[in-house]
């Protein structure tokens, strides 16, 4: 494989991981997603158009793969709430970042299409147009998803102004474990 291709795939790994973890809220699953994305990308490298945005191409592969997995899992696990809570328990402690727990949890409760739109635009640094390409929808759709995602997050986190962020009792209880 071409060194340039190899290097650009490798260079995209940190942001693919960040995207995957934000999407699915679970580090192990996210890393599997990234690995599958890399393998798919390499297997289909001929369909990549040199000169276009490699990162956006990889994000598209990851996103589509996640969505098809997600649909499968959704059928298996009907209580998506408990599912998210479980996956949340397992991940932030790994890096000791309890302060993100509440935010991640709220993010996990967003509908998948709103979550991905918000992350792509708000964290991955894609334009609305790029995000629309990645998600295969109209730019206006991305904009309204991002807006709805923000509104919902603010509601869930009960943010109205200055100092409303921070770990709360409930989150700590969840983090402390004590299974079902």
């Amino acid at each position: 494989m071409d060194d340039t291709v190899r290097n650009s795939i490798l260079a995209a790994v940190p942001s693919l991981r960040a995207f995957a973890i934000s999407l699915c809220g679970n580090v192990d699953r996210a890393d599997d997603l990234v690995q599958e994305t890399m393998l798919r990308a390499i297997a289909n490298i001929d369909s990549f158009q040199p000169g276009t945005n490699m990162s956006a191409w990889l994000f598209t592969i990851l996103r589509n793969h996640f969505r098809s997995e997600y649909r499968k899992r959704r059928r298996e696990v009907e209580d998506s709430d408990g599912h998210y809570a479980d996956s949340l328990k397992s991940q932030p402690e790994q890096h000791g970042h309890i302060e993100f727990a509440e935010f991640r949890k709220a993010l996990g409760f967003l509908p998948a299409d709103q979550r991905e739109a918000l992350i792509l635009v708000g964290a991955s640094g894609f334009s609305y147009e790029e995000a629309a390409n990645i998600c295969g929808c109209a730019v206006g759709t991305i904009k309204s998803r991002v807006n709805r995602a923000r509104t919902r997050l603010a509601e869930m986190l009960n943010v109205n102004g200055a100092d409303d962020f921070g770990p709360d009792e409930q989150t700590r209880a969840v983090m402390a474990g004590g299974g079902e």
Binding site: I9, A18, I21, V34
Partner: protein
């Protein structure tokens, strides 16, 4: 004479429900969480994967 333009116009069809400060804080939190992962760099697992693929020669495995 006063120009009313200073604060930007709210001509969009859907007025933003959230104040700027709230949006900014949500954005900060989202990016902080995201950057936290970015700062972890490339885990060995993925560097190894790319190396292995290189050795085996691209996509025609088996």
């Amino acid at each position: 004479m006063e120009t009313p333009a200073a604060h930007g116009k709210k001509s969009e069809a859907k007025p933003a429900k959230l104040g700027r400060e709230v949006q900014a804080r949500l954005g900060q939190q989202l990016r902080a969480m995201y950057d936290d992962v970015l700062n972890q760099g490339v885990p060995d697992r993925f560097a190894d994967l790319i190396k292995r693929i290189d050795v085996n020669g691209n996509n025609d495995k088996q």
